[in-house]
């Protein structure tokens, strides 16, 4: 007999009758501690206050977040421990299962209506399983992936009935540790005879990540033959097609995935981007509209979708003028953007430029110019600069609106900050032939490359000298500044020196305008923390 009297429960359902009925069943199981919530936001708030042992969550809560969205937010905000049992309660399980992202599945589904015996039977099994797998869950909680591996292997051998669960923990841990060969061996064994959808997706995704696109594509297709209702398989095929430059095919695959599961924000946003690239404005509008809508009650909402929706609506008009319905939607979309992210000056600039383009299209040239000019001026005062991708978009917008000078300046800053990435420079070159912008950083890039070579050969003083030269020549370049700072820190760790520390602080100060979305942002923060500790 499992003792439920000490366990803390949360019951989430929009019907109060259902909440009280389940609470009644739990009381019969000697449960003393039951909280309830009527919607997703309440559930999240409760989880912020309390750590629950067991959550019974209805999937379909009417308006607002559904159960899957709540589960994803709980994971995202780290409000749910691996020890917690999350049961998705559904009127019809197949619908909820299709919507569940493979990496964020509930521990079990329970189909309504159910009686106390069914509830208790299911919970007994889940508690038993979580207890048996405690060493794995403890390691997961500490994010100690190496221990997850050893604990999973041990549990698989000792408890064959829990082996399927352990294999999944093991695969995820091996992937995050980058143990490619072991992961591949495990998954190949699993997909050979009785393949489960997650294992097929995991193996094909793995091949796709390491660039074995042909093998990945064949497996995705084989898996679709077996399980046509798993949207992650279409995501994989779309990613391969996109990587091979076939954006039309990629768009088709994503559309297939969306037909199965239309409520995924990230999938809709991805489809919108592909449709935009394919000049399929209708589809882009539909996808971004969905993404905006889905983001409305989600922490995963993304202002890029608002901007992209407004842009696609304007694009759709082509050379003709915008109809009034599109105009209303653009105004609403940008209005919502400005209101929701009102403290983000970078977004405000981008919203204004998008708005200016719409105005220009409707013949309100003076108004458009005024707005464009104001936006151009605001750019010079921004604390944070754009990401490389955004900078290129903004430069093009400025040029279209007749702000050539500011467009060049944005390109020039972009080239300086991100110019060590050839892809960024290709983007810059597609918008300007100005040699002052295109070759300003060439010499510094050579120094930086040589510096990296020296650093790898552990010739640290030589490396520092080269990084420093690169940085002095292009002080806003993120890589040069971080490389210089890192080399300085290496010296400082061995021997404190006030002037070197000052120089290091300057390097980091110089790149503070890098956007948080930059892949080097984490490294930047780590370096800042290290200097602080000196």
């Amino acid at each position: 007999m499992i003792d439920y009297s000490k366990k803390r429960f949360l019951v989430v359902d929009d019907f109060s009758d259902f909440r009280s009925s389940v609470t009644g069943m739990l009381r019969q199981m000697a449960v003393q501690n039951v909280d309830t919530a009527a919607n997703g936001d309440e559930a999240l708030a409760q989880c912020r206050r309390n750590a629950y042992d067991i959550i019974l969550h209805d999937y379909n809560l009417g308006a607002g977040k559904n159960g899957q969205q709540v589960l994803e937010e709980l994971h995202h905000a780290k409000l749910i421990s691996p020890h917690c049992i999350f049961v998705m309660v559904t009127a019809e399980s197949s619908q909820a299962m299709v919507m569940a992202a493979l990496e964020c599945e509930p521990d079990a589904y329970l189909t309504k209506p159910f009686n106390r015996a069914s509830l208790q039977q299911r919970l007994d099994k889940l508690v038993e399983r979580k207890n048996a797998l405690k060493p794995i869950l403890d390691a997961l909680e500490k994010n100690d992936q190496q221990t997850v591996v050893t604990a999973s292997e041990k549990a698989m051998a000792a408890l064959p009935r829990f082996a399927p669960q352990c294999q999944r923990y093991l695969a995820t841990a091996l992937e995050s540790l980058g143990k490619h060969a072991e992961l591949e061996k495990l998954l190949e064994g699993l997909v050979n005879d009785r393949p489960m959808p997650w294992a097929l997706v995991a193996l094909a995704d793995h091949w796709q990540r390491i660039g074995q696109l042909d093998k990945a594509e064949a497996l995705y297709n084989k898996a679709i033959g077996l399980f046509p209702m798993v949207p992650a398989l279409y995501d994989g095929l779309a990613a391969i097609a996109a990587a091979q430059g076939d954006t039309a095919k990629a768009q088709e695959y994503l559309q297939q995935g969306i037909r199965i599961s239309p409520n995924s924000l990230s999938r809709q946003a991805e489809l919108g981007k592909l449709a935009q690239a394919n000049d399929n404005h209708e589809q882009a509008i539909r996808a971004f509209r969905q993404a905006v809508e889905l983001g409305r009650n989600s922490v995963f909402r993304d202002p890029e979708n608002h901007l992209a929706l407004a842009t696609s609506l304007t694009d759709q008009a082509g050379d003709s003028s915008l109809n009034s319905r599109a105009l209303v939607e653009i105004r609403q979309t940008l209005g919502e953007l400005n209101k929701t992210w009102k403290d983000d000056p970078v977004l405000a600039v981008r919203s204004d430029l998008t708005q200016a383009r719409t105005l220009a299209k409707t013949g309100q040239t003076d108004e458009a110019n005024r707005l464009a000019q104001a936006a151009a001026e605001k750019i010079t005062t921004l604390d944070k600069f754009f990401s490389a991708e955004t900078a290129l978009v903004v430069a093009a917008q400025l040029r279209n609106l007749g702000q050539d000078k500011q467009a060049d300046e944005v390109l020039s800053t972009c080239a300086e900050m991100y110019g060590d990435d050839p892809k960024v420079m290709a983007g810059v070159a597609s918008q300007t032939q100005d040699p002052a912008i295109l070759s300003a950083g060439a010499q510094a890039q050579t120094w930086n490359r040589e510096g990296i070579r020296c650093y790898q050969k552990k010739q640290f003083p030589e490396a520092l000298e080269l990084f420093r030269k690169a940085w002095n020549s292009q002080p806003r370049n993120v890589s040069f500044a971080l490389n210089t700072a890192q080399s300085l820190l290496r010296l400082l760790a061995a021997q404190p020196d006030a002037s070197l520390k000052e120089e290091c602080l300057q390097c980091l100060q110089q790149v503070r305008s890098m956007p948080e979305s930059d892949h080097r942002y984490e490294r930047y923060q780590k370096l800042c923390a290290t200097v602080d500790k000196l």
Binding site: F15, D17, F18, S20, S21, G24, A91, E92, S93, S94, M97, V98, Y109, T111, K112, P113, F114, N115, R116, A117, S118, Q120, Q121, R122, K125, P160, R161, A163, P164, D193, R194, M196, P197, F227, P228, M229, V230
Partner: protein
């Protein structure tokens, strides 16, 4: 009739209505269970209560089946096979019918050829088939329903048997026509067999497909339903 009306897709209407009906029925059953809990034990164990409980479970089973058949038709029934502990699965099936079994004084038991048996199948879909069969058995069983799991070479076989009068001979003789959906003259029973066969067939391995079979030669003396899962 306008074009709009003509293009109304009736199967979609059925699907969404069934969905609402299921929700409605769920609330109804909950309210009923709650009302029952407030009564003294002797007042709650009447024949009428048993009927309400049984018929609502049966209604629910029919709705699940109808929705399942619709989704099969439009190729939207996802198969999510997973490794299951078979004892856990059988226990869960009996638990679903716990109230009604007790109300009718029918014993629900299960056995396995091997206590640690694992099965590879979609527990939701197979569960809905087994649940409907149990429901049907409850109607005919005198005092016992028994679930059993065994292996037939590489296939898992789940059987549900009772101590009732058994299936009518004509059903046993013509079962291949029922399972193929050729003969629907018996109404819901025939449809149930068709649904069971379709779900069984979704389970495939190395070219072998699942199937179902009816017989009257089981230890309890009544009818027996078997489902093979490769």
């Amino acid at each position: 009739m306008s074009d709009d009306e003509a293009s109304l897709d009736f199967s979609t209407v059925i699907a969404s209505t069934v969905h609402d009906m299921k929700n409605s029925l769920g609330l109804l059953m909950q309210a009923y269970t709650e009302a029952l809990a407030n009564l003294p034990a002797d007042a709650s164990e009447t024949r009428e209560h048993g009927i309400v409980e049984y018929e609502s479970l049966r209604l629910n089973g029919m709705l699940v089946q109808m929705l399942g058949l619709y989704k099969l038709q439009v190729h939207q029934l996802p198969l999510r096979p997973t490794w299951m502990e078979v004892d856990d699965f059988l226990e869960a099936q009996l638990a679903r019918h716990d109230n009604i079994l007790r109300a009718r004084h029918i014993s629900g038991t299960y056995t396995l050829d091997d206590p640690g048996m694992m099965g590879f199948f979609d527990p939701e879909l197979v569960g809905s088939v087994v649940s409907n069969v149990i429901n049907n058995s409850i109607r005919y069983a005198k005092s016992a329903i028994h679930l059993h799991a065994s292996m037939d070479e590489e296939q898992l076989v789940l059987s549900i048997s009772d101590d009732g009068a058994g299936y009518p001979q004509v059903m046993i003789d013509k079962q291949s026509e029922y399972v193929l959906g050729i003969d629907m003259s018996t109404g819901s029973t025939g449809l149930g067999l068709y649904f069971g066969e379709r779900i069984a067939r979704l389970h495939q391995r190395n070219g072998a497909k699942g199937h179902i079979q009816l017989s009257n030669d089981c230890a309890l003396g009544g009818g027996e339903f078997r489902i093979w899962l490769p």
